[in-house]
């Protein structure tokens, strides 16, 4: 079953077609990678799925339900969490505060009862704290930095805290926008392991945008290639790697001919 389906999505900014009739699916429990050259529309696609952009045409279905009209802040509550290309943690807050904010959408207590820290607010808070402790902080091995403020962290750790915050949202689908961009080899390997653990142990469906082909080919079950806002190929990593259109998009027509020649 496909937990997330994008059907014939089109989106343009002025005269520029960012997404042109894009259809793709994220199979339940799998890791789906969206790749493509710069400007291919990957981040636009993520922004449309998470509700920041309103597509002109097409449908986005989450668990079979069309969520095209659901505002972004409510999509979080449905189980759609994301990270951003540039780390977008709340500066001036501690790691723990940032992570707890991820659990925000799941809480029901209103501003007033939260003000007195009473009743339901207190109970929810306690439950959230225990859950975050177990399922996020221990899981991502960030216990030692919980009290630090974001500015004090190395870049790789900031990315991990952002992942932690997304996990605290108890997502069914996790959208990761370039999870290893700018990371060194060791940090990349750590992140790859965490993503695989999230998928295998938690059964969370992952969809990621990434330029690191090594990572994409290693961990994805399913790859979708975008170029100029259109899907030009999709399939297993091996199928996509062999596709002439993909080689052409990445290396140019000449290189593609050469590759065919050699093959």
């Amino acid at each position: 079953m496909n937990i997330l389906e994008v059907e014939r999505l089109s989106l343009s900014f002025g005269g520029i077609r960012a997404l042109d009739d894009v259809s793709l699916v994220a199979p339940q429990g799998a890791i789906t990678a969206v790749i493509g050259p710069n400007g291919a529309g990957k981040t636009s696609l993520f922004n449309a799925i998470s509700g920041f952009y309103r597509p002109e045409r097409g449908a986005i279905r989450f668990e079979g339900r069309d969520i095209g009209r659901v505002p972004a802040s409510r999509r979080a509550g449905l189980g759609l969490a994301r990270t951003f290309q540039n780390v977008s943690l709340f500066r001036g807050m501690t790691v723990l505060d940032n992570i707890k904010l991820g659990g925000h959408s799941g809480l029901r207590a209103g501003a007033l009862s939260a003000m007195w820290y009473l009743g339901r607010a207190r109970e929810e808070e306690m439950r959230l704290r225990a859950e975050i402790e177990r399922e996020v902080i221990d899981f991502l091995e960030i216990d030692h930095i919980r009290g630090l403020s974001i500015g004090a962290l190395a870049y790789g750790l900031q990315k991990r805290v952002e992942l932690a915050r997304a996990l605290a949202m108890r997502p069914k689908v996790l959208l990761l926008d370039e999870p290893v961009a700018g990371m060194n080899r060791e940090e990349t390997e750590d992140m790859a392991r965490f993503i695989l653990d999230i998928q295998e142990e938690r059964g969370i469906t992952v969809m990621l945008v990434e330029h690191d082909m090594g990572l994409v080919m290693d961990i994805s079950n399913h790859v979708v290639v975008l170029n100029f806002g259109r899907v030009i190929a999709s399939g297993t990593p091996a199928e996509v790697r062999a596709s002439p259109q993909v080689i052409e998009a990445y290396l140019g027509a000449k290189a593609a001919r050469k590759a065919r020649h050699e093959a």
Binding site: S73, R74, R91, K100, M115
Partner: protein, 292 residues
């Protein structure tokens, strides 16, 4: 002037600074949440004082229910302002929104004049006048109790932002609304709450000021003096608002003691000017902050 007198002026000044800090907090809340300097802050104070006058003096309610009604009214006003003025203007240049707050101030000023008239009205003295002696230092009762009230309110807000879930969400939405939105935080709601809270601080400050002096549509002008406080403290720093509020209160009092009442409005602002030459973003503000 001997040391004891200096101490006395200092204590009175610091206590008076508490009220400045409370008003400054109202400005800082809005600035942090929306990057806008709310020039209608003084009019929020004035409306709070007038609503209290109506409920307490005209309707003869006990002060507690009168205060509750006033705060409810101001909260409604804050929410209304956010919904009808700020939200439609979101995404517009900051200067347009600032102009809108100036216009709002004028409208509220005119409305108060039309409803309650331009004459000075008197609020009953809410705070005990009885002076308190600390050792040999005499502190006027009203100054001391207004300081206590301001401290209690500031403390409550700080605790709310630090510990409550909604408070943390408001901070998150203030620092990065897009990400907060993706986290499932309802940014419209946090923005509405910000205006409500700013209205509440303003109303309490306005009631205190009016009960110590008198009530007229010009009450809002008090807030203009507080602009120096928030610029000194840094527009986006709650701590800065508190420290600068106390500092300016102290400077004013000591100036009165040493130089005389006429210099009261001059010396503190010269000091602020000099400090701003060295630290243009204020004592605690974010470095790249825009200035007024």
């Amino acid at each position: 002037m001997d040391f004891l007198t200096f101490l006395e002026f200092s204590v009175v000044g610091l206590a008076g600074g508490g009220l400045l800090a409370l008003i400054a907090l109202g400005f800082v809340l809005i600035y942090k949440g929306t990057r806008v300097v709310n020039f209608a802050m003084g009019e929020f104070m004035m409306m709070g004082a007038y609503l209290f006058y109506t409920t307490h003096v005209a309707w003869k309610l006990h002060w507690a229910p009168a205060l509750a009604l006033t705060l409810a009214g101001i909260a409604a006003l804050g929410a209304l302002v956010e919904r009808t003025i700020l939200r439609p203007l979101s995404g517009q240049p900051v200067i347009s929104i600032v102009m809108a707050t100036i216009g709002l101030g004028t409208i509220l000023h005119g409305a108060a004049d039309a409803i309650w008239g331009g004459d000075n009205l008197a609020l009953p003295e809410l705070l005990p006048r009885k002076p308190v002696f600390v050792g040999e230092i005499l502190i006027p009762g009203q100054v001391l109790w207004s300081f206590a009230a301001a401290c209690a309110l500031i403390g409550a807000f700080l605790a709310y932002f630090r510990f409550s879930r909604t408070g943390v969400a408001m901070r998150a939405a203030a620092s990065d609304p897009v990400t907060a939105y993706a986290m499932g935080i309802d940014v419209r709601r946090t923005s509405r709450l910000t205006w409500i809270f700013a209205g509440l601080t303003g109303a309490v400050a306005g009631i205190i000021v009016a009960s110590m002096t008198s009530l007229s549509p010009a009450l809002g002008n008090v807030a203009l003096g507080v602009l120096a406080v928030i610029i000194l403290g840094g527009l986006d720093s709650v701590l800065g608002a508190i420290v600068a509020g106390l500092a300016i209160g102290w400077l004013e009092a000591v100036t009165v003691g040493f130089i005389g009442g006429k210099a009261r409005d001059l010396v503190p602002y010269v000091v602020v000017l000099v400090i701003l030459m060295v630290r243009p973003y204020g004592l605690f503000g974010t470095r790249e902050i825009e200035r007024l």
